[in-house]
Symmetry: C2
Subunit: 163 residues, 2 copies
DNA sequence: GGCATATAACTCGTACGCGATTTAATCGTA
DNA sequence: TACGATTAAATCGCGTACGAGTTATATGCC
């Protein structure tokens, strides 16, 4: 009775379909494949598109700000943003008040390509087979799960840093 | 009334937290980070661990069989399996009846490392913050979503092949 | 048997993700 | 002001994903 807290609250069989993490992993692969036909016509990858979404929401963000929203760091974002710049979708320039920071802005072509993909999203949303209620609920549950996981890894990371 | 079917059933604002695909994408990043401390001690990556899970469930599978379970193809799996072999966790050998196929088996070390990670999973399962019921439900919903998405991309791919 | 077709795995090039390190700018404090 | 500490971005190396193409084996049909 007293060691109830010690063991994991959920018993798992050692089989793939039973892992929640594998369900998330494979659903992510599936979403990438669903988006691919829509994106590759425009020379975009899925993470690049996500960056455009974040920039459309708020323009002229620093790399760190973008990173916080996308859960990525500069080692991933810098090359990605350079590719978007090479394709004419964003502009990167040093902040004049703090030259350490780089500010990223959408170009008109960037905004237009974002809108094009956004309008084509309906097909994919429909392919989920979810009604609006399930869609929103699933999304909310995932965000909560993600934030729980990130809170867990962050605290264990701080433990390591402290050593 | 009549064109109700034409438009997507779900209206989205153009904001990141609203995309289900981004919820899945970022939750996948979070799961990877949660598993990392457990896996890197053993020199494993998350996809490598998933391959070990599949092999523990059924040993001596071909690359294609593994690929079907993991939703990956040989261009991804071959290098991954070679790394597992280099670390002594699996053995790869040509099928004597059909030399085109490569059969992959767990070594004793592979089985032992799988068990080690599996036993350490409890912490991560707990970090999800989900009770057993929500865990299982979320997982089932994701699998259904994944399979809907894959069915959608597969049919549109066949359309392309037919052209 | 011989040859076109199909199939399984592999190889290659590109783009993430990320740990580790580097470079450059700013801040804090004496 | 000077100088160590901090911070932001960039760079590097490795391991996935995956489209496209290659190689080797098996199959089907004459």
């Amino acid at each position: 009775m007293e060691n109830q807290e010690k063991a994991s609250r959920i018993e798992l069989a050692a089989s793939l379909p039973v892992f929640l993490c594998f369900a998330v992993y494979s659903t992510n692969l599936a979403f990438n494949r669903a988006y691919k036909p829509l994106l590759e016509k425009l020379g975009l990858t899925y993470p690049q598109y996500v960056a455009l979404v974040a920039l459309n929401e708020e323009n002229d963000q620093t790399v760190s700000q973008l990173g916080q929203k996308l859960f990525l760091e500069s080692n991933t974002l810098t090359p990605l943003l350079k590719r978007l710049e090479a394709n004419g979708y964003v502009i990167r320039r040093r902040d004049s008040h703090d030259e350490r920071q780089v500010r990223v802005s959408l170009t008109p072509q960037g905004r237009s390509v974002f809108e094009k993909v956004f309008c084509g999203c309906g097909t994919i949303v429909d392919a989920t087979g979810l009604d609006e209620q399930s869609y929103v609920r699933l999304q909310r549950e995932l965000i909560e799960l993600r934030d729980n996981l990130l809170a867990g890894s962050k605290s264990s990371k701080q433990d390591l840093d402290r050593e």
